[in-house]
Structure formats: structure tokens, C-alpha cells
């Protein structure tokens, strides 16, 4: 009995007059969202239809008989075993390593007094603003000079270099805002900066790291331009390169083409869904408020 009374009060508070403005807004947003998701629905439906069904039915009719063999067919013809493996290896090495490097550098720049600290920070920040697609030729020349064309390090090292600046920028903003009291006591007790970084700063920055992990996973997984230049042997291709070639060869096999798109996109969507609850909050604490 006692539990019911306050709830009624809550209801009365939470359900004020229906605001017509909000209702119209809601209708607009939902309509827009349906338009926005339409291409994704189209891919999902087409990926599950046989070619005959693609031709016979309209685009937004759900598949009648689910053609799973589109996926196995695309997997085999598109050389997905190789490209998928390459993408996984490159992403799984690059993303954690890059976050580690960035977090270490950001900590030092934010919490250790350095004579050129501010200049170094600007130097990193500068890199976050440069479109590297501008420099494909010299990157090729450099990696070629090291003899690393068509190797994993040859693509991971440039990926690291172009991922670091933005992450340093975000993490620096976050570390800078951490109250002094948290680290000072440990430092006075004789703990080293490395320990303070590992024991105090890494644990509290997990939400930011999760947000950066999403961004970095997605951009590494999807990267096309540099891979195009640095990975020329098709045994070293990543998924985006494989998809591009698949499109060129089998563009009229709509079911398989869409299955190929779905398989390329799916892992990134999965990682996003797993970590997305950290996403907006992580970005807020770092970039915008920082």
C-alpha cells in the first residue's frame, strides 16, 4: 500500500500536458529515422534474397525464402577468408597498441612538467588536423624505402602514426581535468609516474578509452586509401579492398554483393553496439568539455 501512493504522485509529475510541439517533433524525427535506415534495410533484405527474387520483388519486400547461400557464395568468391583474416590481424594489433601509446604520451604531456610540453602538444594536435589522403605518394615511398610494402608492419605503422594525434588530444583534455589530489599523494609517497599512470589514470579513463576504442576500431577496420597504396598483393588485402574488387567483378550478382557488404560492415557495427553506452559520455568528458 505504502509503495503505491508515491508512485501515483510520480505519475502525475512525469505526465504533464501533452506538448503538441514535442509530438510534431517526434513524428518528424521518426519519419526521418525511417528514411535514414532504409538503405541498411535494403542491404539486409537483398543480402537474403536469391537473384530471381531480387528481380521479381520490390526492394523493400522482406525475403520470402532466406538465401543464406549468398553469404557462403560471397565468402568464397570474394576471397573473404584472406581479407577477413588480414583485417582482424591489423585491427587487433593496431587499436590497443595505438591507444596505449596515446594514453602514455597524453599522461606525460598533461601531468609532468616539461619545458617543451605545450609545444609538443601543439605538434601532436597539428597532426589531427591534416588529411593524410593528401600524402599517399610519400607514404608509399617511405614504406617502400623500409621494404615494408605488402607487410603487416608496413600498414600498421602508418595507421598508428595517423591515429595517435587525435587520441592524444582527447586523452590530454581528460587527464588535465583530473584533480591533483588523486595523483599527488602517490607521487609524494615515492611512486613513479609510470605507476601512477598505470594504477590511477588508466582505470579512471576507461570510459574515454572505450569511446576512443570505438572510433579507432571503426576507422581502422574501414580504412581504404592507405591500404590501397600499401597493400598491392591480393593476399595482403583488407576487407575494404576485397569489397571494392568484388564490386568490380560481380556487380550484377546483387544478393552476393549485398552479403559481401553486410559481412564487411558487421564487425564494426558489433563493436559499436558493445561499447556504445560509453560513447557519448566518453566523448563528453574528453573532447568537448575538456
Amino acid at each position: 500500500m505504502t509503495a503505491i501512493a508515491p508512485r501515483r504522485e510520480d505519475d502525475a509529475l512525469l505526465k504533464p500536458r501533452r506538448d503538441p510541439f514535442l509530438i510534431i517533433l517526434w513524428i518528424i524525427l521518426v519519419t526521418f529515422a525511417l528514411v535514414w535506415i532504409a538503405p541498411v534495410v535494403l542491404i539486409a533484405f537483398t543480402a537474403l534474397k536469391s537473384n530471381a527474387e531480387v528481380m521479381a520483388t520490390s526492394a523493400f519486400t522482406p525475403p520470402q525464402e532466406i538465401a543464406w547461400n549468398n553469404f557462403s557464395g560471397a565468402w568464397a568468391r570474394g576471397n573473404f577468408e584472406t581479407t577477413f583474416k588480414n583485417s582482424v590481424i591489423i585491427t587487433v594489433i593496431k587499436v590497443p597498441l595505438g591507444l596505449m601509446f596515446s594514453a602514455m604520451a597524453a599522461y606525460a604531456l598533461a601531468r609532468i612538467r616539461l619545458r617543451f610540453g605545450k609545444l609538443l602538444l601543439l605538434f601532436f594536435l597539428f597532426g589531427a588536423m591534416i588529411p593524410f589522403q593528401v600524402m599517399l605518394a610519400p607514404i608509399f615511398t617511405l614504406v617502400n624505402g623500409f621494404g615494408l610494402i605488402d607487410t603487416y608492419p608496413g600498414v600498421i605503422l602508418p595507421y598508428l602514426a595517423f591515429g595517435v594525434p587525435y587520441q592524444v588530444f582527447i586523452l590530454h583534455g581528460f587527464f588535465k581535468a583530473v584533480p591533483k589530489e588523486l595523483s599527488e599523494a602517490a607521487l609524494i609517497d615515492g611512486a613513479s609516474h609510470v605507476t601512477v599512470f598505470r594504477r590511477i589514470f588508466l582505470p579512471i579513463s576507461l570510459p574515454v578509452l572505450a569511446a576512443l576504442l570505438i572510433l579507432d576500431f571503426v576507422s581502422t577496420w574501414n580504412e581504404f586509401a592507405m591500404a590501397l597504396v600499401l597493400l598491392q598483393d591480393r593476399h595482403m588485402w583488407t576487407l575494404p579492398l576485397g569489397l571494392m574488387s568484388f564490386q568490380g567483378q560481380f556487380s550484377t550478382d546483387y544478393g552476393q554483393l549485398n552479403a559481401a557488404i553486410a559481412m564487411t560492415v558487421f564487425p564494426a557495427v558489433l563493436v559499436y553496439m558493445i561499447f556504445q553506452r560509453y560513447f557519448v559520455s566518453g566523448l563528453t568528458s574528453g573532447a568537448v568539455k575538456g
Binding site: F126, G127, I139, L157, Y272, V280
Partner: protein, 299 residues
């Protein structure tokens, strides 16, 4: 407060912590940026051990003889202006809407953000297929609405191909601006908004005088990031039109790539890169100065 030995060791530690990031960044990001300037003064096919120094010849050729360069420059500028206006505006409107207490706002946010996660090259593949003049979704929908007069060869018509591509680009990046604006909106003081509403301010007045000023920093970040990501539009052009038809959708980033990696004229390709780099710097450097000044004032 600290003795000098401790300071020294903390400097060593700083070096250890910054070292890996700095080394990889300087070698693989900064050095190519310097190298591209050298390359732009040389004639080189990418393989020959000998690189000939030709001074400004590459620039001269591009600016006076390369008609495609001017098309690419005009397209890049058009693209950048569109990219700074449309995705951020739509993103801001969505963020303002989805910041309200609305039913289903969390799944709606996810839907608008979903295209950001999709590989640009996949976006190109999807939209190329939707734009197909015979089997594509757009012309099917127009036919079923009896609007046959509007049916076009979306990517094959030189007049509209660039704008067709831009629609796909907008579809992909609106969610990116939206998320940044949503994050920025969290810093708007709720009590201030409520106080203004109680005092009888209209929604527009609240937006104009409370919300918008609080979004100033976010706005700057979104505009700069939008500019930069538009300048590096590469994947989507490569995947949708390859610069065609007849180079009408060519862009600077793609043209630089083609000159170097397909025509094997590294000198001319690099000269185009340097021009694009200079364009970028004229936007980035003022922003960096502004943001540093801002930070200085805050301290």
C-alpha cells in the same frame, strides 16, 4: 618542492612515456608531409633511383596545362562548402530534437549514427547500386510514384553526379555531427534553460540566448572537423565514380593519388598534394591559434 634528482628522473619517465607515440608519429606522419614538398619540386616515376630537380615546373604545368586540376579544385571547394553547411546543420537539428525527453530517442540516435560506422567504400557500393539507372532504388521509387520525368542517370550525368555523391556523403556523416552536438548539449546548464522558460522565454529565445552560446566550442570543433573530413573525400569518390564521368567529379585528393600511383608522375601528384595541404593549413592554423588562446583565457 622536489629535488633535482627527482625532476631529472621524472623527465626521463616523460621521455619514455612520450617516446613511442612521438617516434611513430614523426616518422610516418610528419616526414611524409615534408617529403611531399621535396617531391613536388622533382621529376620522378616512383622507381628510378635518380630524381631530377625541376624547380617549379610541376606547379607551372598543373596551374597552366592541367584542365582537370581546375575542375578538381572547383569540385573540392564546392564539396567543402556543402559539407560545412549541410551535415552540421542537419546534425544540430537532430541533436536538439533527440536531446528532448522523447519516446525511443536512444534507438533513434543509434539509427542516425549507424552510417558513420559503415566503411565509406561500402557506402559508395550501396549508393552506386541505389543510383543505378536501370535497377536502382531511386528510379524504381520514382517510377512507382509516377514521377518518370525525374528519372536520371544520377552518377552518369555530369551536371548532377557531384551532388548525387554528396547526398550519399551527407547520409553517412550527419550522425557524426549529431553525436558531437549531443555531447556538447550535455554541458548546457539545465537550470538556466528552465529558469529562462519560467521567465517566459520562447523556445527560439532559449536556443538563441542560452543553448547556442554554450555550444560555441562544439560548433567550432564540428565545423573544423567537417572541413577536414570533406577535404579528404577520397574513398567515396573512388568507389562511386572514380572521378568520372569525363573527370567531372574529380577531386584534389583523388587526382593527386592518380597522378602519383596510376600515372606514376610523383612530382605532379605531390604538387597537387602540396596545394591541398596549403588549403588545409589556411583553415587549420587559425583554428589552432584560436583554440590555444581560448585555453589560455580559461586557465
Amino acid at each position: 618542492m622536489f629535488n633535482s634528482k627527482f625532476m631529472q628522473s621524472s623527465r626521463t619517465q616523460a621521455l619514455l612515456l612520450i617516446g613511442p607515440a612521438l617516434a611513430v608519429y614523426a616518422t610516418f606522419a610528419i616526414w611524409p608531409m615534408i617529403e611531399v614538398v621535396f617531391l613536388s619540386f622533382q621529376q620522378w616515376n616512383g622507381l628510378d633511383p635518380h630524381r631530377e630537380w625541376v624547380g617549379l615546373a610541376n606547379y607551372q604545368y598543373i596551374l597552366t596545362n592541367d584542365a582537370v586540376f581546375w575542375v578538381a579544385l572547383r569540385n573540392t571547394i564546392t564539396w567543402t562548402i556543402l559539407a560545412v553547411i549541410f551535415p552540421p546543420t542537419i546534425g544540430l537539428l537532430l541533436a536538439l530534437g533527440l536531446n528532448q525527453q522523447l519516446f525511443g530517442r536512444v534507438p533513434m540516435r543509434a539509427i542516425y549514427y549507424l552510417p558513420v560506422i559503415i566503411a565509406p567504400i561500402a557506402v559508395a557500393t550501396i549508393w552506386r547500386w541505389m543510383y543505378d539507372p536501370f535497377f536502382g532504388l531511386f528510379n524504381q521509387v520514382l517510377t512507382s510514384l509516377s514521377l518518370q520525368s525525374l528519372i536520371s542517370d544520377w552518377l552518369g550525368d555530369r551536371e548532377i553526379a557531384l551532388y548525387s555523391m554528396f547526398v550519399a556523403y551527407t547520409w553517412q556523416y550527419v550522425g557524426f555531427s549529431m553525436v558531437l552536438f549531443l555531447a556538447g548539449l550535455q554541458s548546457v546548464d539545465r537550470s538556466l534553460v528552465e529558469a529562462a522558460r519560467i521567465d517566459g522565454a520562447s523556445r527560439w529565445q532559449v536556443f538563441r540566448h542560452v543553448t547556442l552560446p554554450a555550444l560555441r566550442v562544439t560548433l567550432a570543433i564540428v565545423l573544423v572537423l567537417s572541413t577536414i573530413s570533406s577535404l579528404k573525400a577520397f574513398d567515396i569518390v573512388y568507389g562511386m565514380t572514380g572521378g568520372g564521368p569525363a573527370q567531372s567529379t574529380q577531386m584534389l585528393a583523388l587526382w593527386a593519388f592518380m597522378q602519383s600511383m596510376q600515372i606514376f608522375d610523383f612530382g605532379r601528384g605531390s604538387a597537387i598534394s602540396v596545394i591541398l595541404l596549403l588549403v588545409t593549413l589556411t583553415i587549420v592554423v587559425p583554428y589552432l591559434r584560436w583554440s590555444q588562446r581560448d585555453e589560455g583565457a580559461g586557465e
